[in-house]
């Protein structure tokens, strides 16, 4: 049932003595959407590039779609679709010419291809743009065309590096719908993202990476349950310290001060909320714990540049 599409053992990449990916273990199951999360420089893109056979690992074993990578990268790529971070569409070609040219790299041509191009243009909502130049497309249209291009060879596995970065909310919704329909067709997706709500919505399982290591793997719900109390209350305002010392400390399971804001974590939030309601000078927001809390707990709140 759940055959592995990707198996990585001890996968390592060094750049000038620094271990950018440090012996990671990874398994991606067939038909799932697997997310790679991590701050900038965590090693996500390098990991992804190794899966594609683009970056050559310095150590470890890697199998993608049953082929050893990088040795067997060529047959593996026949079944692979890639949506890179940069669209890298051919600016000299029209929309449909982009698809046709990309198909030629897979040795595809003829009537079957033309039919496939029509289907993909419909899938990407670009039927009316078939003859348009690339620079006439919006960011969302380019992203959809890049997604369509990745599907030209009917791939079993689609790898997406930050598929919705820089898109407006409408354009992101469309991409999400399309990615769901790919999952419904039984394809496996691997994606990196900086958007926690995107990961929470789309990913069946995800790995949180930092400093070249995988910190934890699981479904969004599992990760939240494993690392964070179910409720989070964010409090700020005058008298915060006094309230915390008198009541907050005792009522919260755990709390954390970030700048002007206090994060209180609780299994039962009612007593905290009641206590805060009696403090009109304090503003607070009570919400369920989410993936962002897990992410920040595991990778820290320091800026990465």
């Amino acid at each position: 049932m759940s055959t592995a599409v990707v198996v990585a053992k001890g996968l390592t990449k060094r750049y000038g003595g620094q271990r950018v990916v440090d012996g990671i273990e990874l398994e991606v199951r067939q038909g799932e959407c697997f997310g790679l999360l991590g701050p900038n420089g965590a090693g996500k893109t390098t990991t992804l590039r190794m899966l594609l056979g683009m970056t050559l690992p310095d150590g470890g074993e890697l199998e993608v779609l049953g082929h050893g990578v990088p040795q067997q990268a060529r047959p593996m790529r026949r079944q692979l679709g890639v949506v890179p971070q940069q669209d890298s569409l051919d600016p000299d070609f029209t929309v449909s010419e982009n698809l046709r040219t990309y198909a030629s790299y897979f040795g595809l041509s003829g009537r079957v291809l033309e039919q496939r191009i029509d289907e993909l243009l419909a899938f990407a909502n670009l039927e009316h743009k078939s003859g348009a130049r690339i620079d006439a497309l919006s960011g969302g249209m380019k992203r959809r065309l890049t997604l369509a291009r990745a599907l030209i060879n009917d791939p079993a596995l689609v790898v997406l590096d930050e598929p919705t970065t820089g898109l407006d909310p409408q354009a992101r919704q469309v991409i999400w719908q399309r990615l769901r329909s790919l999952l419904n067709e039984g394809r496996t997706l691997i994606m990196t993202t900086h958007y926690m709500e995107e990961a929470q919505r789309l990913c069946d399982r995800l790995a949180i990476m930092d400093h070249g290591r995988i910190l934890d793997v699981g479904s969004p719900a599992e990760l939240i349950a494993r690392h964070i109390e179910p409720h989070v209350i964010e409090v700020h305002g005058e008298g915060l310290d006094a309230w915390y010392g008198q009541q907050g400390r005792a009522l919260a399971v755990r709390s954390e001060r970030v700048g002007e804001t206090l994060f209180c974590y609780a299994r039962d939030e009612r007593r905290l909320v009641d206590s805060l309601c009696e403090q009109p000078q304090l503003q607070f927001m009570s919400r369920p714990a989410d993936l962002e809390d897990v992410f920040l707990k595991l990778t820290g709140r320091d800026l990465r540049e």
Binding site: R77, E97, T101
Partner: protein, 272 residues
Amino acid sequence: MDGLRQLAMAPLQLLQDLFALRWYPVWRRNVRVWRKLAGPALIGNIGEPLLYLFALGYGLGQLVGEVGGLDYITFLASGFICASAMNTASFEGTYSAFTRMTVQETWNSMLYTPLSVNDILFGEVFWGATKSLLSATMIIIVASLMGAVHGWAALWALPVALLTGACFTAMALVVTAVSRSYDFFLYYFTLLLTPMLLFSGVFFPLDGMPGSLQQASAMLPLTHAIAVVRPLVTGQPLGTLADVSLHIAVLLGYGLAALSIASVLIGRYLHR
């Protein structure tokens, strides 16, 4: 050490990839792009050599008279065929290829498909060669209209122009591999290609030059291209089969050596 071993293995892998013909769609892509912009490109291809042949051929020709038993314009036109093959290929292999390697990420997206670095490089080399063939053809047509071409044997200059184009595209790809910006290409053009253009016998025969310069000139691939093309176009005797084979072998040697280096260096860059 690792690099040397890779370099030693490169020619064998290249030969294998050459005959696998996976490079064809890469070549085809460049042809498709070129067809979109063919108008201005063709005008450049015809216009520039026409101007040079007119200005230098007639202008200088009046002063110079005959060179090595040839009208100056005939002498010049035969050299120009090779020089323009060199120029066309060098521009394609540097500025255009660099754009596809970096700015447009064309090569990156090709590597997400079953294509390999060598497939891409062969596609580029044959495309550079194709463009060189086009310019050489244009010049032969223009030159023959000016009466500077003697007989149908000149058509044999075309395959030599193709080879010259392939050789110079491969060399340009090495420069592209070590370049991190467009500015770097100026070194290549100023320090290598311009001297090559001046001291390979395009504008004047080398017999009158000092011996050391003649020896240096004999190392340049353009000299060898001209040594074959000039007799074919002007009707002068071609030399022995051994002579011609040597000239061709030099072009092939430069091309294969450059392509091997480019394969290792560009492979490292794209698979970094």
